[in-house]
């Protein structure tokens, strides 16, 4: 079980309260597909991903990004129990979606950069450290049920 200090929990929940989940989620997913184009392999059915503009404007990317970050919110509601929160999703990503867990790490890093751009100096070094820990824990939980 991951140990979170009171300060870390505070840094997570107070920032999360200010996050526009739909906007940040869409942006994070779009950036994943733009910065690491090989990740597009999982989204053949999404239509036009031919350029950064196309990706950023793609409604399926937008909707799926929102879905992904909404799910992230579940981890934040269950910080003391992230592994079991993501057990089913982990199985899904392994058995049905066949996603290499390295991609979770990439998305986590991208989310951090999206948050940095949005919150600027409020995204302090302590904030970054806590959120890097969180995305690492989420990535680990999503990979946990792989077999």
């Amino acid at each position: 079980m991951v140990h979170w200090t009171a300060e870390e929990k505070q840094l997570i929940t107070s920032l999360w309260g200010k996050v526009n989940v739909e906007q940040c989620g869409a942006e994070a997913l779009a950036r994943l597909l733009i910065v690491y184009p090989w990740t597009q392999r999982f989204f053949d059915s999404f239509g036009n991903l031919s350029s950064p503009t196309a990706i950023s404007g793609n409604p399926k990317v937008h909707a799926h990004g929102k879905k992904v970050l909404t799910s992230f919110g579940e981890a934040i509601k269950n910080l003391d129990n992230i592994k079991s929160t993501y057990a089913k999703l982990s199985e899904l990503h392994c058995e049905k979606l066949h996603v290499d867990p390295e991609n979770f790490r990439l998305l986590g890093d991208i989310l951090i950069i999206v948050l940095s751009a949005h919150f600027s100096k409020d995204f302090t070094p302590a904030c970054q450290a806590t959120w890097q820990k969180l995305v690492g824990v989420v990535a680990h939980a999503l990979a946990y049920k792989y077999h």
Binding site: R31, V35, I113, S116, A117, K121, F123, P125, A129, Q132
Partner: protein
């Protein structure tokens, strides 16, 4: 690798970022130390606390080297050749690409903090490619 458009974006962005914050190098290093404490193992001789003069000074060195890389995007291998030797034979930051990826992440965070919306997906992609290329050159002579 780096397209002509990437190079243009890197030049513009780098100049803007360096002008905005004097201490981007020091800040990136401090963020990396805070987020990934294992990176401090390469600096046992440093005061790594916030605002440390050693970190500021080292940050300036890193930014200066990156600035040189930005001016020589067509020839990174040659421009970074001495630093490449240093990292391979003296510093031996291990594993080479992994630890440098941690610095790349923190550098990009500082760029995003300072540039906000201007750190667009296209700029982000260009910089990620650039920093990966730099890390690859620095790791070239490892074995």
């Amino acid at each position: 690798m780096l397209t002509a458009e990437d190079k243009k974006l890197i030049h513009q962005t780098w100049d803007k970022a360096v002008a905005k914050q004097e201490d981007i190098g020091g800040e990136a290093l401090f963020r990396m130390f805070t987020s990934h404490p294992q990176t401090k193992t390469y600096f046992p001789h440093f005061d790594v606390s916030h605002g440390s003069e050693q970190v500021r000074s080292h940050g300036k060195k890193v930014v200066s080297a990156l600035g040189n890389a930005v001016k020589n995007l067509d020839n990174l291998s040659q421009a970074l050749s001495e630093l490449s030797n240093l990292h391979a034979y003296n510093l031996r930051v291990d594993p080479p690409c992994f630890a440098l990826q941690l610095l790349s992440q923190s550098l990009q965070v500082v760029l995003a903090v300072n540039l906000g919306k201007e750190y667009t997906p296209e700029v982000h992609a260009a910089f990620d490619k650039f920093l990966s290329a730099v890390a690859a050159v620095l790791a070239e002579k490892y074995r």
